[in-house]
Amino acid sequence: MRIIGKLGLVLCVAAVAACSNPNRFGAGDPGAGTGAGTGMAGVNDGAITQGALDPSSPAYFNETIGDRVLFAVDQSTLGDAARQTLIAQANWLTQNPSYTAIIEGHADEQGTREYNLALGARRAASARDFLVSQGVASSRLRTVTYGKERPIEVCSTEACYAQNRRAVTVIAAGGLTS
């Protein structure tokens, strides 16, 4: 995994012009830059063969750095693993200043709908505050709570609940609007 990651980094350095192509963020192309490999347009010159992720791509952020951190029941405090993930997220955001992010806060289904909305807001803010403490401009970050409305795991046991109590950093190109 690490080797592939390094390969990806090398490849992207070679294709640096494309990686930072400002047209990716053009207003006329709102979908650009939000999917895996989108940023690689125009560099299909045979140099890329193994599908390694461009380290400046949202896909690299999502899969290699990790786009989410998990929480204990009712908690919004960040554990060591969550802090490590968020430090890496902050580094990525610092290195890729054209991107903004929406941080989604989620809860498991064990709780009432409205309390879980408030709890999700708390978790999203906890992740956001940590990213800001690591140097990410707060103007690039926005939070949203989904409470228990958007579980990713659907079983009704702790194995699923643990995955659903999360804050997910969703990378987006361009500015933040409501």
Binding site: E114, A118, A124
Partner: protein, 440 residues
């Protein structure tokens, strides 16, 4: 909205009174005193007084019967057990024939159609064992589209005369209709009659909608929608289905909106920088903060006189119920039992607060007095939440969701006594019911 127009034209008139008879021990159900045996009543199919009224008579009779039996307080005697038939809508009846089949109450009625597409329903209620009419005969008129409302009105009268409580059948419920798998639920705002009939959708499924509430006049609903990408409160006029957004604190997510009894003032929760507090919006004013704590404050509900607000807060470390003055200020905790308490809803009678309780892996709908005493749990399941009061404060409706990957929410109702737990049939999965007041 067709339904509301029908109601505007509905007329009500007293019929000539039957000869009064001395009533000793009049027919009465005391709802609070644990009715074990449902009261048997006879309801002959209403008489069709015009040639094309037969289908209306049959449908209206069925709705009246369903309303009454659905309470669990009444049992309908099958018509083939009758020893006499009602062939004419008259002020007097042969009580002996109804005593013979042990009918405690007899409901007679007639339906007539008008040339203008109207329906007129007349009815009388008799206390068979006292051999006396119970209240006066009534005549109700409305459009044919409002036939179910005419039936609910009759049933409300019968219920009210026998129980001494106001009725609740002529009412509506706003709720969230749900479709799709648990990890990709589509939600739409919908309204229906209290019994699940006449479902109308108010939104499409393009954005999440949550936890609607009826205005005290039943013509508007407050709810939370993600149409902006973020949770935000809106108000919708139910008749015109037109929506307006509400002025909320800047940089906030807003949810849990509720009307004050005046129908104009609104309280809601706003999350700012991760902290959720309760705010108020008065007509012509900007948002006013009512709570100011680093904990979660949400799920507010006004007392019927508008002087106090019960809400949910985790300021003690776990979610519990608190009451504060409606202008904000010091709150007192009222929930002290084991477990977590949420979504408090003040009874329209003012005497009780219904809530969701979570304890030892189970969810309950419960009620307590407004000082927190006399807590009673009415239900238990994997996930029960979000009670709403019937207009008369005797029945609660709530969401029950089943467990697991295929888990689905459905609407249930239960008496405040804990009896008569019933599923409310809806066309699709459903959650977050909120009862309207009795329709005008």
């Amino acid at each position: 909205m067709k339904f509301l127009r029908g109601l505007a034209t509905m007329a009500l008139a007293l019929l000539p009174m039957a000869p009064a008879t001395a009533q000793d021990g009049p027919l009465r159900i005391e709802i609070t005193e644990g009715v074990i045996e449902p009261l048997p009543f006879a309801l002959p199919t209403l008489i069709a007084e015009t040639p094309d009224a037969q289908q209306w008579a049959e449908r209206i009779t069925q709705v009246i019967a369903d309303d009454l039996t659905g309470t669990g307080l009444f049992r309908r005697i099958p018509q083939d057990a009758f020893v006499s038939q009602i062939t004419e809508f008259t002020p007097s009846v042969n009580y002996a024939n109804w005593k013979a089949i042990n009918a405690q109450a007899l409901i007679t009625g007639a339906v007539a159609t008008g040339a203008d597409g109207s329906l007129t329903v007349k009815f009388r209620l008799f206390d068979v064992f006292s051999e006396a009419p119970l209240g006066e005969g009534l005549s109700l008129s409305g459009s044919q589209q409002s036939w179910r409302r005419l039936a609910h009105r009759v049933a409300d009268q019968v219920y009210s005369r026998i129980t001494g409580e106001s009725g609740y059948f002529d009412s509506r419920v706003v709720f969230v209709s749900e479709q799709g798998p648990k990890n990709d639920r589509q939600k739409r705002l919908a309204v229906m009659d209290y019994d699940g009939a006449n479902v109308q959708y108010l939104t499409d499924s393009s954005s999440l909608v949550l936890a609607p509430r009826f205005s005290p006049t039943g013509d508007r609903v407050l709810y939370t929608s993600y149409q902006s990408g973020f949770p935000r409160i809106y108000e919708m006029n139910v008749g015109s289905v037109s929506q307006r957004s509400l002025q909320v604190p800047a940089e906030s997510m807003t949810f849990a909106p509720r009307y004050a009894p005046d129908g104009q003032t609104i309280v809601f929760s706003a999350s700012i920088n991760g902290n959720t507090d309760i705010y108020r919006l008065r007509p012509g004013g900007g948002p006013e903060q009512l709570t100011n704590a680093p904990s979660i404050e949400t799920a507010p509900s006004y007392s019927p006189d508008g002087s106090q607000i019960v809400f949910e807060s985790d300021r003690s470390g776990s979610p519990q119920l608190y009451i504060m003055p409606s202008n904000g200020g010091e709150a007192r905790r009222i929930s002290f039992g084991a477990g977590r308490y949420g979504t408090p809803v003040w009874s329209p009678r003012g005497d009780l607060i219904a809530f969701t309780k979570q304890n030892e892996g189970r969810f309950h709908i419960g009620v307590m007095r407004t000082d927190g005493s006399e807590e009673r749990l009415l239900t238990a399941s994997f996930l029960d939440e979000g009670p709403t009061w019937a207009p008369n404060g005797r029945v609660l409706m709530f969401t029950r969701e089943s467990a697991g990957a295929g888990g689905q929410p459905a609407l249930y109702s239960v008496d405040v006594s804990g009896r008569n737990l019933r599923r409310v049939e809806t066309p699709a999965a459903a959650s977050d019911p909120a009862w309207s007041p009795l329709l005008p």
